[in-house]
Amino acid sequence: MVKSDNPKDNPLEEELGHLIQALSAAGRAAMLGSPDALLSSIVEAAARIFGAAAASILLVNEVEGELEFKVAFGAGSDDLAGVRIPLNQGIAGYVAMSGQPIAISDVAQDTRFNQDFARSTGYVPRSILATPLLAGERVIGVMEVLDKINAPSFGMQDIELLGLFARQAALAIDQAQNIENMGEALLISLNRLATSDPEHPLENVRAVLQASPDAGSGNDLLKIADLLNEFSRMGEAEREMALKILGFLAEYSQGQRRMSTGAGWR
């Protein structure tokens, strides 16, 4: 049979897609609003409390080896969202790679400091305080505040205080990413289940979904989702294990079906 890539041609796949989306949306709703709105309010609060001219959050994109501005507030923040910088360069890059906070000032003095950054934002800061966003031991981003008003530089107390904001932001980002990752993992595994029997595509999943028309399957999925989420919060090793378990589950289920249909190994 020819498998179509278009979900429209495959009602069940479409249905699964909707289910996953609903799941993600439910997770996000549980986070009191969209993550971006929450992050925006965190950087704005940070900027105001520090008396800083600007504040922003950058997220690590491991695949591309880049940092991407997620939200920004204050001077030079227009159109900053989406701007990318290499993960191993500059002050934000240093903070992401070292996992350490840094407070520096007089940055524009005697130096061509961060000209690229200045070109992209039209704004050269005088002082910077940057701290990593940590999910457990993993650096998921960088939060920075620029130019403390009424003070030449940021001090150690500012580093500690920004750490508190960073923890909030990291929690929000980590939760959002977990939900997204989990949704993807579920989708992949369910797709594998669904497409594993070439004679009767999706039959098995269809059966599961139809067995409980009162949204029971949705509840089951949510339970699985909850468990996986719990795992993924524990750390990288657990996250990998959760993915392996899903993989095994899919393989086991395929094996069961082969035995029951007598199709054998191909």
Partner: protein
């Protein structure tokens, strides 16, 4: 309010917390003049494992002799690539800041840039470890480590690197994390662990007899070299470690026969809070 705010691990070096310690016997006879008086660090090789060193920055006075870039490379079996770096650059500024502090204290010490910050997040602790290993294999005498990892998975790797350095007579100087978190390799006893005090004099450092950090050196609001021939005012334990690395280079230059534990004793005897009983 600098007085009550220092990075985590620096609390023993708050002005009110520094303990007065007494030395006695032959160790009490050791003075800074004996330890490093007249030394320039000549002949001592110092590696800075960091973001690189800008080789032509005025703050390093032309003393950068080369180095290596450690990259994470998925195509290789052990995933690590070592690219020789004859004229090193600094991708952030941090390593140049550290190297400048060492050069100011030990102006004739030879500096080597070991750049370990790449773009791969999952490879970074391995790159860090590989950078330390490069320093151990390439004849370095002193290694400045103004970076750390909190990942317990790497406890064993850094422990064995630290012990290897100790038995090879190589001085590892390691900054404690600025956060209150596991800080490897600074937590190992075989190396020189450093956090910040709020003073500015480069030769004033304190000894802390209680774990986990033994030495406190300047690390708050310091003018340090930065990338693109620049200078910034910076804060962090990162800048305390190179003060001790510089002094260790001076001692090593004058007394090449001393081993890590002997140099540690010399540092203890010359610390600002240790006085003859």
């Amino acid at each position: 309010m600098i007085d009550d705010s220092l990075p985590a691990y620096s609390q023993p070096f708050l002005p009110g917390a520094i303990r007065e310690l007494a030395s006695s016997g032959p160790l009490a006879e050791i003075t800074p003049e004996w330890a490093w008086g007249g030394s320039t660090g000549k002949g001592v090789k110092v590696a800075v494992v960091d973001t690189g060193i800008e080789y032509d920055h005025p703050a390093v006075g032309g003393m950068v002799r080369g180095g290596v870039v450690v990259e994470w490379d998925e195509s290789l079996e052990d995933k690590l690539r070592y690219d020789p770096d004859e004229h090193p650059i600094d991708v952030a500024g941090h390593g140049t800041g550290c190297a400048g502090i060492i050069h100011a204290i030990a102006p004739e010490a030879e500096l080597y840039s070991v750049r370990v910050l790449g773009t791969n997040m999952s490879g970074r602790a391995w790159q860090f470890g590989a950078g330390v290993n490069w320093a151990l294999e390439n004849g370095m005498d002193v290694v400045n480590l103004s970076l750390s990892t909190s990942k317990k998975d790497y406890f064993a790797m850094f422990h064995s690197l630290t012990d290897e350095a100790y038995f090879k007579n190589i001085m590892l100087v390691s900054a404690a994390s600025n956060f209150d978190e596991p800080s490897m390799p600074s937590l190992y006893a075989a190396l020189f662990s450093v956090s910040s005090h709020a003073g500015k004099d480069p030769f004033t450092y304190y000894y802390n007899p209680n774990p986990p950090v033994e030495f406190g050196a300047p690390g708050i609001d310091l003018r340090v070299a930065w990338k693109d021939h620049g200078y910034v005012i910076a804060t962090g334990n990162s800048f305390a470690a190179p003060h001790i690395a510089g002094i260790v280079a001076l001692i090593r230059g004058k007394h090449p026969e001393l081993t890590p534990f002997q140099i540690k004793s010399v540092l203890w005897a010359c610390a600002a809070n240790v006085r003859k009983a």
